[in-house]
């Protein structure tokens, strides 16, 4: 969640810190809007015209998600398909030059995704500004009535090395974990945990979903499994901003992000934090 070069200053309680090996793999900002009734029918052509007009070829359509509505009829006691049509849920576009950014567009939904590559991970204000820019373009194109919800999401994957006997005491690394009495249940194979917290960000709710994650094992390469992978999905949502003012939305996002950082740091012990190779700045 934390990017290289980003200063955590007061969060660590001492000298400012940078992370050499940040666990973030993806971050995204999601907007949901209440639409007016005048908007044209939602289809791929509408999505394409939005991307063309708003981003002038910087994004190209990359995929879509849809459901199929099938109308069945009974002919001679046997069902047959009378009609089938595709109901478009969401269209995804990828940024053509860097291929590390996606925009997802649905009916009343706009999501800006940023994925990790070998390039340096940009600081949060970069994602925030790009998301707000996309939000502004969305509102100019679709003219929604109001903002229903805004959410910031970060996905971290932390790899904890296995101990001597092929097991790990998760308590040594994270401060949040499910408590499973070993005398009754033995050792845990996989786990999943979700919790919500109060957040300092106005009208926000912070949620952490944490789960062990399997990884691919190639034939004949057992060593690929280097440790226990824990996926942490952080989410801060507000459903009460109800404004289209990008300054207000951007201010809330920054506030939410700072609170996210605070909770993120609190989720790890010193040993866990050291997995991210924090560097003390001079």
């Amino acid at each position: 969640m934390v990017c290289p070069g980003m200063v955590l200053g007061t969060l660590a309680g001492s000298a400012p810190l940078k992370l050499g090996n940040p666990p973030v793999v993806e971050a995204w900002v999601e907007f949901r809007f209440a639409l007016s009734e005048e908007i044209p029918p939602w289809d791929e052509a509408l999505a394409e015209s939005f991307f063309d007009r708003a981003f002038e070829g910087r994004y190209r359509l990359d995929g879509y998600r849809a459901a199929t509505e099938v109308v069945l009829e009974s002919t001679g006691g046997r069902p047959s398909i009378k009609d089938a049509k595709l109901i478009l849920d969401r269209v995804r576009a990828i940024r053509t030059d860097t291929e590390d950014r996606y925009l997802q567009l649905g009916r009343g939904v706009l999501i800006c995704n940023l994925i990790r590559t070998r390039q340096p991970w940009p600081d949060f204000p970069v994602l925030r500004d790009e998301a707000l820019d996309a939000c502004l373009k969305y509102s100019q194109f679709f003219k929604p009535k109001k903002l229903l919800a805004v959410a910031i999401n970060y996905r971290d994957v932390v790899t904890i090395p296995w101990g001597g006997e092929g097991q790990v005491d998760i308590k040594d690394y994270v401060t949040l974990y499910p408590e499973v009495p070993p005398a009754m249940f033995g050792r845990v194979g996989d786990f999943r945990l979700s919790c919500s917290f109060e957040t300092a960000a106005k009208n926000g709710l912070l949620t952490l979903s944490m789960r062990s994650e399997r990884q691919p094992v190639r034939a004949g390469q057992d060593s690929f499994a280097t440790g226990l992978r824990i996926r942490m999905d952080w989410n801060v949502t507000s459903t009460e901003l109800e404004t289209m003012d990008t300054e207000v939305i951007g201010g809330w996002m920054m506030e939410a992000y700072k609170d996210l950082l605070r909770v993120f740091r609190s989720a790890f012990t010193e040993t866990g934090w050291n997995l991210f190779a924090p560097e003390k700045e001079a």
């Binding site: 090996n21 793999v25 993806e26 995204w28 999601e30 990359d62 995804r92 990828i94 291929e99 590390d100 996606y102 997802q104 999501i111 995704n113 994925i115 990790r116 590559t117 070998r118 999401n153 996905r155 994957v157 296995w162 092929g166 097991q167 790990v168 005491d169 998760i170 308590k171 974990y177 499910p178 408590e179 499973v180 070993p182 050792r187 845990v188 194979g189 996989d190 786990f191 999943r192 979700s194 919790c195 919500s196 949620t207 979903s209 789960r211 062990s212 994650e213 399997r214 990884q215 691919p216 094992v217 190639r218 034939a219 004949g220 499994a225 226990l228 992978r229 999905d233 989410n235």
Partner: protein, 238 residues
């Protein structure tokens, strides 16, 4: 809490997304671009591999590159790339190459590792469906015929079969052929019925058959006599 290393990393995840007030996992999977992606069919160019039980593609970043993999096929291939989409493309290419490599092998020709991979493919992909739905591509030689039509409409293959076609099914080279022109063609046929789907490619060739009856005999008789050295076969006692 002690977490034990699973003995079989490839086994199914024990915990699935549960529904709950606090759990936003389901929603997150829908909004993330790197979350699971279900495939009912693996498509690579013209090859379609149908997956009766949909498979789920996962994307993972290991600090250097993205990996793309499906639990059912993780022993077959794992894709790699700088971005999830490149890793997915790499996974498709690897799967296609591995499938085609193993598809033409007999079971006894496979190493134990290949045998495991093929079993994984058989459990995830409907191979029979692939076999009956993938067109056959055959090289054939035939003669273009017009008869009473102003354009080619029939092919007389070298083995005597006659087959009607429309110009939609053939390349432009055939549309421009004169009556009686011989062509060497790559033909796509339905695997079960052998019916012509289309002619993919055609190249004009000189007639492979003699023009008139008797020409072949004349050619045979007119052939120069070979003058071989005479030898004697004698038996010798040991």
């Amino acid at each position: 809490m002690l977490v034990a290393m699973p003995s079989q990393q490839m086994s199914a995840p024990i915990v699935y997304l549960e529904r709950g007030v606090l759990d936003q996992g389901q929603a997150l999977e829908k909004t993330s671009t790197t979350g699971g992606e279900f495939l009912a069919e693996i498509r690579f160019d013209k090859a379609h591999y149908r997956c009766p039980n949909r498979i789920r593609l996962h994307h993972q970043f290991d600090g250097q590159v993205w990996h793309c993999w499906a639990r059912e096929l993780s022993s077959v291939c794992v894709g790699e790339g700088q971005t999830p989409s490149l890793a997915r493309e790499d996974w498709h290419q690897r799967f296609h190459a591995e499938f085609q490599r193993l598809y033409v092998k007999r079971t006894f020709e496979m190493t134990p590792q290949e045998s495991d991979s093929w079993e994984a493919i058989l459990s995830a992909v409907d191979v029979v469906d692939y076999r009956v739905s993938t067109p056959l591509r055959i090289r054939e030689i035939g003669c273009v015929r017009y008869r009473h039509m102003p354009y080619p409409y029939q092919m007389r293959w070298i083995d005597g079969r006659r087959e009607l076609f429309t110009l939609h099914q053939v390349p432009a080279e055939i549309a421009g052929c004169k009556p009686g022109q011989w062509v060497e063609a790559i033909v796509e046929r339905e695997p079960l019925t052998g019916r012509l789907i289309r002619i993919v490619h055609a190249q004009k060739i000189p007639s492979p058959l003699p023009e008139r009856p008797g020409t072949l005999r004349a050619a045979w008789e007119g052939m120069r006599k070979a003058e071989l050295p005479e030898t004697e076969w004698d038996w010798h006692r040991k």
